[in-house]
């Protein structure tokens, strides 16, 4: 089976500055993007038509996520606020202040009831979606700055990557560390993603590699080399077999996850971008994804056999 990327929508100058985060709504209706220009923009998920801009952050938007119904968007910014927006109406619902430099990444739980944020102390704060200010649980690692956090698909595990090579897997219920994963030779790990079946965790690092871990046993099963820059984003496809990665080397790679004793293989590489590829998000069906680049470009791809 040979897969290939085909681009079908392209939005040059989607933002005024580099795009740092993009999210294809889990309900499939819209795509949201945010970045250095402080703005969040909402696009039609299929046609890329522009819908509206969510204005309010006074510094760069570093992370965003949309709840499972596709109605609520939470954004995180260098301006030390977490903002909660109505996607459809384009209104700001809540505005929570954090400490300067406290958070830069967050994710909704799969049921949409909670929002987890990775903090500068190497912790994850679990917040109630209906009341973001309320921290319902804190997961403490021994690591330094938390760069990325992800819920496992069954909501039972929270993964946290740090800027010094460590990934911590927490039991959501007990807040205990289940596994501590290493393997990026002391480098920051900027992106994480679970495969939808929850079996594997994919990590992208500044060491230019991507590691694949067995979530259950907590061991590394593969190391993918090929990028020649920081791996800024990894995103698992819904088929549990593929994932994509983007890097400062301006390349996007489609990988096939290893089956028994195989190695992870690159299926396709896109080399058309001129600047770093910072963020990637799949559609819920797992046959399309959208990428955001430092070149102010949003681009939609489908994966064709």
């Amino acid at each position: 089976m040979s897969l290939q990327f085909i681009s079908f929508v392209e939005k040059p100058k989607a933002h005024k500055s580099p795009i740092w985060s993009v999210r294809w709504s889990p309900s499939g209706n819209v795509v949201a993007s945010g970045g250095l220009d402080n703005e969040i923009k909402i696009w039609d998920a299929e046609t890329g038509d522009y819908y509206r801009t969510l204005e309010g952050h006074i510094l760069a938007v570093t992370g965003l996520d949309i709840n499972p119904t596709g109605e609520v968007l939470i954004s995180i910014s260098f301006d030390n606020t977490i903002k909660r927006w109505g996607v459809l109406e384009g209104i700001l619902i809540n505005d929570i202040e954090t400490k300067p430099g406290e958070v830069c990444c967050g994710q909704y739980s799969k049921d949409g009831n909670y929002f987890a944020t990775a903090s500068q102390h190497g912790t994850i704060d679990l917040r109630n979606d209906s009341n973001l200010e309320e921290i319902v649980a804190t997961y403490t690692s021994e690591g330094k700055y938390g760069l990325c956090c992800r819920f496992s698909p069954d909501n039972k595990i929270l993964a946290l990557s740090t800027d010094n090579d460590k990934i911590y897997l927490f039991d959501v219920e007990t807040a205990k560390i289940v596994h501590k994963l290493t393997g990026h030779s002391g480098n920051p790990i900027r992106s994480l993603d679970f495969t939808p079946d929850g079996k594997h965790l994919i990590s992208g690092s500044d060491d230019e590699t991507i590691n694949i871990y067995d979530v259950k046993h907590g061991n590394q099963i593969s190391k993918c080399t090929g990028h020649e820059g920081y791996v800024m984003c990894v995103a698992a496809a819904s088929d549990n077999k593929h994932f994509v990665s983007g890097s400062t080397d301006c390349k996007i790679k489609l990988w096939q996850l290893p089956e028994k004793n195989e190695k992870t293989q690159v299926v396709d590489t896109i080399e058309e971008h001129k600047e770093a590829v910072s963020c990637i998000s799949w559609n819920p069906d797992g046959d399309k994804f959208v990428v955001g680049t430092d070149n102010l470009l949003l681009k939609w791809y489908c994966v064709a056999k």
């Binding site: 500055s17 301006d79 030390n80 430099g101 330094k144 030779s185 190391k223 430092d294």
Partner: protein, 967 residues
């Protein structure tokens, strides 16, 4: 043509003296004496012919036979005899033409051929049907390499006499040379049927050769066997049989599956045959060559050379001479007497330029002696001769590639590279199924610095090995690993090395040093793929196996250095130095490690000792060391010391530059010293020069630094950005420098856009390093500065701090904008406050300054809030006005609506009234109509009643009318 039965004693009538003489041929003297003996006597032509045959065959002296025959031609004889004489003369000339002793003399040879042609033609003119002349002409054409003409002559002869055997032989030769082996076989078989006992020449040999060419080897051997059975003394049959035996012994193409025992048997049989042939004819050069070949196969070179020296003496044709030289060359080549081999190869192709094997050997010798271009020409000739086999193509490719990469002459280089492309493209790899050419192509691509293509070629080579079921050499796999490594396919490289190591495991002594190298390479690939743990294990394994493998230890040290395990680095280095305490390179590496981690004291003495030996690296490193020392001195009172350090650094760098003017790091060091001692313009120019020589990002940065300090912000930004881009925007420090320049521009020129750009770059830096407190501080500073700029510009805030009266009439800032600015100010102040907290203590901030910023921020927020309030009042007024306007409008609208509603009601009423009126009218009308109907009906009824009373009297109607008129 059997001359064995020449009558020895002849009686010759002498017409002039009218006598008869009896001549015993054995008693004859030289041809001259014989000619003199007859003086002017006219004897019949047939006697001359007889004598000529005698001289030719018995005395083996064609020259004498020729002189006799020339005289004979002047004698009387029948046409038939004349023909015979001419044919014999032509044949003899032809024989002389082919004789070895005349081979060297080309003019003489050609003369013989011309004579032979003339005489055969004369004979043909006398009798066009003469078969011998026809065949003779055919043979001459063959000698002239004109098979078409030759074929015509043989065909003519066969038309006259279809079974004329010499013509059939000629025909068979032509068919054979045209590779029509089946036709040739049929012709030879026809000859056998026509004359089953013919052995001079033996058509069976022709049959055998044809069968051999048709790959019917067993039948070929049978044919040669029959030839020997017919004539045990047949030298060619023995030789040919021996050739086949040797071919089997050599396991040539069709005999691949022959066992060793069989080979030996075949070899012995071959030698036997050769010896038999030599017993019959000890001077037969082809047999001698074959004997030599036999010895060569057994690698008994002394015997081989002995046989060849004899063959050299007896070689009776150019072909044989050439072959002898070739065999000699080959034997000398084998025993590594290259000069002699060179000589004989040269003579082999000098005599027979089509001897491809000899040319190949000659080419090899040229390569040995470094005459690459000449060698290339030789192999090119082979290629032109259509010997496009693997070896030739491979060597040609290598030579072209070699010349292409190494020759100083650009045109020669280019031509060679083009030729390489042409040849390797023309070469169909699949056809030859040999991996070597792919290996050569890989090497070519490697030289062209294209590891991806090189790797592809190597993969092809590996594939061919596998398809041929030949073991893949581990060197190939190692090479594949190297190419994959160069192409940065590190995982793939690891795989190739692992595969190579698997093969090495099976080798005796596990491949020795080369095996270790592959292992080391695998370690390097793991390291490059960031698989540090694996790499470390591999190096440790190598060291366990061979402790003297220093490279592996140094890599281990490098890994530990990267992980900042400094004591481990020292440990490893000491282990290496324990093995080899004089290893200066290792000591130097260690010194550099120490320097890099900030330990300037330990390595200083060592570096000095190296520097005394003019070690460039040491001198440059020492220069840098003094630069750093100078930089560390901050106190003003220690200024002289600082100056001294800078001076020392510059001296060292200058010395390094004197040793190597291209030492860019030394040049850079000097320029850094210039910059740091305030000689900025000079430094700027220096860095520019360095950058022109070496556009490394480091130098871009240095140049940009000086530009920034000299106020050339445009160039500063440009060169910083180039450097940042080169590092894929992964260096947060460069981003901060860029931001800094934009900040300066923004402040100096009160330019908000520049501040915004500075903000962008700072945020990019912060994103790369989110725990970078300085970036956070700078963000706050930028936001505060932006707010300040807007305050100064739009709130009319003067520098003395007097707030200009803000009139409601001229608010040049909108409330929403102001709110945004307040947010900036608040955010920055809050961030400054945060920075003042305990946890930021370890970051080197000027806390008083930050405190001032907090205060300044708060005061600014105050004035903003004030302005905000004013704006809000205005906004409220506006809002009130808006509300009032809205209220009035609303009221008006309401009134209007009411009016419309009332009107609507009135209208409705009117409409209702009208409708009622209509209804009433209608009703009345209807009533009226109904009334009328009733009235009418009533009238009608009464009328009808009246008429019905008149009904009886119809005839009275006129009366009625009349009566009517009366009314």
């Amino acid at each position: 043509m059997n001359f064995g039965s020449i009558q020895k004693v002849v009686e010759i009538p002498l017409p002039i003296s009218n006598q008869t003489v009896e001549i015993d041929c054995d008693q004859l003297g030289t041809a001259g004496e014989t000619l003199n003996m007859f003086g002017s006597e006219i004897i019949d032509m047939k006697y001359w012919i007889h004598f000529a045959l005698f001289y030719n065959v018995i005395r083996e002296s064609p020259e004498e036979a020729v002189s006799i025959l020339e005289r004979g031609l002047l004698s009387p004889g029948s046409i038939e005899e004349r023909c015979k004489c001419l044919n014999l003369l032509a044949s003899t000339y032809f024989k002389m033409y082919k004789a070895p002793k005349y081979q060297a003399n080309v003019d003489q040879k050609n003369h013989f051929l011309v004579q032979a042609t003339e005489k055969f033609n004369e004979a043909s003119q006398l009798n066009p049907q003469n078969l011998i002349s026809l065949v003779g002409k055919g043979l001459i054409y063959l000698a002239k390499k004109d098979p078409v003409q030759a074929n015509r002559e043989f065909s003519n002869a066969l038309r006259i006499s279809p079974n004329f055997i010499p013509a059939l032989f000629g025909l068979a030769r032509i068919q054979y040379s045209h590779k029509s082996f089946k036709d040739a076989l049929a012709t030879y078989q026809r000859i056998v049927r026509l004359n089953p006992f013919m052995i001079h020449p033996d058509p069976r040999i022709g049959i055998g050769l044809c069968l051999n060419k048709l790959n019917r080897f067993n039948e070929a051997v049978q044919a040669f066997d029959r030839a020997i059975a017919m004539n045990p003394n047949s030298v060619p049959a023995n030789i040919l049989l021996a050739t086949i035996e040797f071919d089997i012994a050599k396991q040539l193409d069709p005999y691949k599956d022959v066992t060793d025992e069989e080979r030996l048997a075949n070899y012995c049989a071959g030698m036997e045959r050769v010896e038999l042939a030599l017993n019959i004819d000890p001077t037969k050069s082809s047999a001698l060559i074959l004997l030599a070949h036999g010895f060569y196969l057994r690698e008994e070179m002394d015997f081989s050379l002995e046989a060849l020296r004899r063959a050299e003496k007896y070689a009776d044709s150019r072909f044989m001479q050439s072959e002898t030289h070739y065999q000699l060359a080959r034997a000398y080549h084998f025993i590594e007497e290259y000069d002699k081999a060179f000589y004989h190869y040269y003579h082999a192709i000098d005599i027979n330029e089509n001897h491809t094997s000899a040319r190949y050997g000659y080419g090899q010798m040229l390569i040995r002696n470094g005459y690459y271009e000449e060698a290339r020409d030789e192999f090119e000739k082979l290629w032109v001769l259509n010997v496009k086999n693997l070896d030739v193509t491979t060597v040609l490719c290598v030579l072209n590639a070699h010349i292409g990469f190494n020759d100083s002459d650009q045109s020669v280089k280019q031509k060679a590279l083009n030729d390489f492309d042409r040849i390797s493209k023309a070469f169909i790899e699949d056809k030859y199924k040999n991996p070597d050419i792919s290996t050569v192509k890989a090497w070519f691509f490697e030289q062209k610095k294209n590891p991806v293509k090189a790797l592809a070629s190597l993969k092809k080579a590996k594939e061919l090995y596998e398809r041929l079921h030949r073991p893949v050499p581990f060197e190939l796999l190692n090479k594949m690993g190297n190419m994959a490594f160069k192409a940065k396919f590190y995982d793939e490289a690891i795989e190739h090395y692992s595969e190579a190591l698997k093969i090495i495991e099976e080798l005796p002594e596990k491949g020795g040093y080369r095996g270790l190298t592959v292992c080391y390479n695998k370690g390097r690939a793991n390291e490059a793929a960031h698989k540090t743990e694996q790499a470390r294990n591999i190096y440790k394994k190598i060291i366990d196996h061979s402790p003297e493998f220093v490279l592996a230890r140094l890599r281990l040290a490098a890994i530990e250095d990267k992980l900042k395990n400094h004591h481990k680095v020292d440990e490893i280095i000491h282990e290496v130095l324990d093995l080899d305490e004089e290893n200066m390179e290792v000591k130097k590496i260690h010194a550099l490690y120490q320097l890099r981690r900030g330990d300037f004291q330990t390595p200083r003495n060592f570096l000095h000792s190296l520097a005394e030996k003019n070690d460039l690296v040491a001198i440059t490193a020492l220069g840098s060391l003094y630069l750093i020392k100078a930089r560390l001195i901050k106190q003003e009172q220690e200024k002289p010391q600082r100056e001294a350090y800078y001076k020392r650094a510059v001296e060292l760098f200058q010395r390094a530059l004197n040793l190597n003017p291209r030492n860019i790091w030394a040049a850079n060091g000097i320029t850094v010293a210039l910059a740091e001692t305030g000689r900025m313009q000079e430094a700027n120019e220096g860095f520019w020069k360095i950058l022109q020589n070496c556009p490394k990002p480091e130098f871009n940065i240095n140049y940009a630094h000086t530009c920034a300090l000299l106020g050339d912000y445009g160039n500063a930004i440009r060169f910083y950005e180039v450097a940042s881009k080169k590092y894929q925007h992964r260096d947060y420090q460069i981003m901060e420098w860029i931001a800094r320049v934009y900040y300066i521009i923004g402040k100096e020129r009160k330019n908000l856009e520049s501040l915004e750009t500075a903000l962008d770059w700072t945020q990019r830096a912060l994103r790369l390093k989110p725990d970078h407190k300085i970036a956070l501080h700078n963000l706050a500073l930028l936001q505060q500065t932006r707010a300040q700029l807007i305050r100064d510009a739009k709130l009319g805030q003067s520098k003395v701090g007097v707030t200009a009266p803000i009139t409601a009439a001229s608010p040049n800032i909108s409330l929403s904008e102001l709110k945004k600015v307040i947010a900036w100010a608040q955010w920055s102040t809050k961030t400054f406050e945060e920075i003042l907290k305990e946890e930021y203590k370890k970051v080197m901030f000027d806390r008083d300054l930050v405190k001032n910023r907090v205060a300044f921020g708060n005061s600014m927020i105050g004035s903003f809030e004030k302005k905000k309030k004013e704006l809000e009042v205005i906004e409220e007024q506006k809002e009130a006005e808006r509300t009032e306007r809205k209220r009035v409008e609303e009221e008006n609208r309401r009134i209007e609506e009411q009016r419309i509603a009332e009107e609507a009601i009135l209208e409705e009423e009117r409409r209702k009234r009208a409708a009622e009126e209509d209804r009433v009218r209608n009703e009345r009308l209807q009533e009226y109509a109904a009334m009328q109907k009733i009235l009418y009906a009533r009238e009608e009824k009464s009328k009808r009643r009246r008429y019905s009373s008149d009904e009886d009297d119809r005839g009275m109607s006129s009366k009625k009318s009349r009566r009517g008129f009366n009314l």
